[in-house]
């Protein structure tokens, strides 16, 4: 089993764990944690797509020939920033929902 496929499987599992959290856990904060787990799993997937066995960081050094592909990393970096924004927005909503309903739990 190559590292790549192994990591794809791990990412899949983490994604499902996150998905379960979003669907099944009643607490809003837990749901947001679930979203974060899903996000990191997708990032893990993207990074493992870009990585090569024995590849080095995409920094030009003398003597290094085999770089990992930098493009997925750029993608992940931007997606991470967006993820923080989403998390912040979601958390502020959760706080407001808690404040105006008196409980952080979602009903219905």
């Amino acid at each position: 089993m190559s590292t790549g496929n192994f990591l794809y499987g791990v990412a899949m599992l983490l994604f499902l764990i996150g998905f379960y959290t979003v669907l099944a856990r009643p607490s809003l904060i837990k749901k947001i944690i679930g979203i974060n787990i899903m996000e990191t799993s997708v990032f893990l997937f993207l990074i493992s797509v870009g990585s090569r066995r024995g590849g080095s960081a995409p920094i030009i050094l003398s003597g290094v020939k085999d770089y990992v592909n930098p493009l997925p990393q750029v993608v992940v970096l931007m997606a991470m920033v967006i993820a923080v924004g989403t998390t912040a927005l979601a958390l502020s909503m959760a706080v407001k929902i808690f404040e105006s309903s008196g409980a952080g739990e979602r009903r219905g």
Binding site: T3, F6, L7, V10, L13, L14, I17, G18, Y20, T21, R25, P26, S27, I29, K30, I32, I33, G34, N36, I37, T40, F43, L44, I47, S48, G50, S51, R52, R53, G55, S56, A57, P58, V68, Q73, V76, L77, M80, V81, V84, T87, A88, L91, S92, A94, V95, F98, E99, A103, G104, E105
Partner: protein, 79 residues
């Protein structure tokens, strides 16, 4: 690479632990550990910049946000 094989089960266990911890503050702290391990995995995969970013953003900023939110709402998760 062997470090990854060592870390990944740990990652999964921690993720599951985060999900099933009733105390939200504890869950958030476990989640920060999850982020740190994830950062190490990424570093191993040849993405040191991203690993750094994950430490700063995932285990740093996000967790702070979570802690603030938990403090302003409630610690326990009702089922």
């Amino acid at each position: 690479m062997s470090l990854i094989y060592f870390l990944v089960p740990f990652l999964l266990v921690i993720a599951v632990a985060t999900v099933f911890t009733r105390d939200l503050l504890a869950a958030v702290i476990i989640f920060s550990a999850y982020s740190l391990i994830m950062a190490v995995v990424w570093q191993q995969l040849g993405a040191p910049v991203l690993a750094l970013a994950e430490v700063a953003i995932g285990a740093g900023v996000t967790v702070v946000l979570f802690v603030v939110a938990v403090c302003r709402t409630t610690r326990e998760e009702k089922v």
